[in-house]
Symmetry: C2
Subunit: 403 residues, 2 copies
Amino acid sequence: MTYHTLENGITAARGFVAAGIHCGIKMAKKDLAILLSEVPAVAAGVFTKNIVAAAPVVVDKVQLSRSTFIRAIVVNSGNANAATGERGMQDAWSMVKTTASALGVKAHEVLVSSTGVIGKFLPMEKIHAGIQDATGKLSRDCHRSSAEAIMTTDTFPKEYAVELSLKGTAIAIGGMAKGSGMIAPNMATMLAFVTTDACVSPAVLQHVLREASDRSFNRISVDGDTSTNDMVLLLANGAAGNPSLNSVSDPDYQVFYNALEHVLVYLSKMIVRDGEGATKFVEIRVTGAANEATADTAARSIANSNLVKTALHGEDANWGRILAAVGYSGIDFVPENVEISLGSIPILKKNFQIDFSEEEAKKVLTEKDITINVDLNQGNASASFWTCDLSKDYITINANYRT
Amino acid sequence: MTYHTLENGITAARGFVAAGIHCGIKMAKKDLAILLSEVPAVAAGVFTKNIVAAAPVVVDKVQLSRSTFIRAIVVNSGNANAATGERGMQDAWSMVKTTASALGVKAHEVLVSSTGVIGKFLPMEKIHAGIQDATGKLSRDCHRSSAEAIMTTDTFPKEYAVELSLKGTAIAIGGMAKGSGMIAPNMATMLAFVTTDACVSPAVLQHVLREASDRSFNRISVDGDTSTNDMVLLLANGAAGNPSLNSVSDPDYQVFYNALEHVLVYLSKMIVRDGEGATKFVEIRVTGAANEATADTAARSIANSNLVKTALHGEDANWGRILAAVGYSGIDFVPENVEISLGSIPILKKNFQIDFSEEEAKKVLTEKDITINVDLNQGNASASFWTCDLSKDYITINANYRT
């Protein structure tokens, strides 16, 4: 399925405006963004499972449990407001209230998000001033400055939007994301904010976001489950005027799901491409699995192997490391039945038959984009996972991140 | 507890002889070792859980299920005989039979082990000749050449032995190991062979080996569960003449257990110190846990975090990454109660109080040996895990291992 793409990222859907400004958390770069829906929007959220959840994660869970409708999201970068205790919670609530009052909306209609260094208190005076500043700049044109304002170690802003038709009504789905910058599934902070002008019921919106996130943000080597601050928020304001999507058995559900998954996968891939020190973009595709969970587990294990990632960096067709990573993934399979190819070059056939040209494999591996196909030959399910190589630059960047 | 150490490693215990020679699997270095017990020895083994188990792992499990008593172990390095299918199995059995016939013992009394490159057939002619050669050189003095013959990317041989007293009888426990050379828990190949002249019943020997391995080889960042070839073999030949240790409730059990754990931890630490590209030796000690499993899980998560490992390489007191790694480990705990120290310098106190001298922390971090203490303040259980930092040399070594 190909989609007609739109320019405006987070403001591609009707009825959304945004702003991204510099308020002084960072030295010079933009560090605060506000997103506003002109009418109350149904909201859904997916949050980190890390038990050390940052204050904004706790606040947003409370907000979403109290109100289904949200008007605005305020985001700062440069400081994660994580491991900041009681004072951090007060600061997060203060961001919510200040934003609500600046925008003239209710406090329970505002969500908050933070990313950056852990364990430092937010500079609240700067943030309050920044919220006022951003409020004055809200516009449909400011999608890119918003995408820039949520960046940390990202080297480019990440935004994407598409148009589709639901029962003849044109609707838009667009969003922005920030990469963790991390190429291993550790405490990567991954944020994504997505808007749509479709009319979707709260239960369906939460369901579709969870499903699509599991096949996108949770399938990159920046594990959405593991940072203190990770979140994906989706607002649907109904401005398109389509008949409300109220059931997962509505035929339109799959149409909407497919488009949302497409947008989230696109944003996910941008995050991987911007992985710290990454020189390769790698798709791990596991096919012939008994079920999707098996394929997912095998692909994840390969993608998270430091040995596979360093071999890819070294452009070495090391099928042994790939097979071994499947072997310790915990799935049940018959090693003799596994077939592995690099792009279109088979490097392992059934019964451990190895008969490939190292030259041809090398040619595939010198490309920037590499696909590893692993066929388990046990069923019809499949899953893709996206990752990058492990380079010396990763060490350099992360050895001195805090200082 | 301190022990009197002995010189002879794998041949420290009475009644064991060994040899390590070069047979031509590798270009020039030693690549084949034989260990022989002069009398049948009770044998116990702990093996990789990787579903892609190498041929020698399969063969040894069969051997141990058929016979409790073992006379000899034959080991080659340079080729793992893994992912080699039916022919690999034949080759492993052939190593067993050739060794049995060279030594004049029964075929069911011989175990086999391999380590090295995956997916290549063994050069059987060279190996058969090597077995004859090694048989002629068996001696109590050849412990070190044996330890050298099982090395792959190891930079030094690893052997250790101690003496202790069981009900007044002096017994010895000694062994040799090879490191995976890997500093992440991936497909590390870790081999260890341990001998004792104590008299121990088969059931007790298997139990004590499993327990001690779980607190040593399974607590280093070379995960014994994940390679295709990992194994730990323990032979007890009873040459010391002590009354047989037949029960885990015998007071001597704990005495023997402690000494065995001490030997296995010592060998484990040598493996970590020889981690590829390692510049730091790091002990992660989790205390105040509700139970040992919780402490183990938390310590393991910290030790396997690429972000913690790169921060250590960069000598950065990044407590946020340590706390976050506990947060995504899956254990239940209260983040506000956690206290973290580097050596004797507290870097995180309760309620996220951070008040330490970066200078003092830096001083601890510039040392080659670093201890990270994490107190969960929830109970009295603890666990230690040993790992090393993640350096650029790791990338260099692993990017082109196969070629």
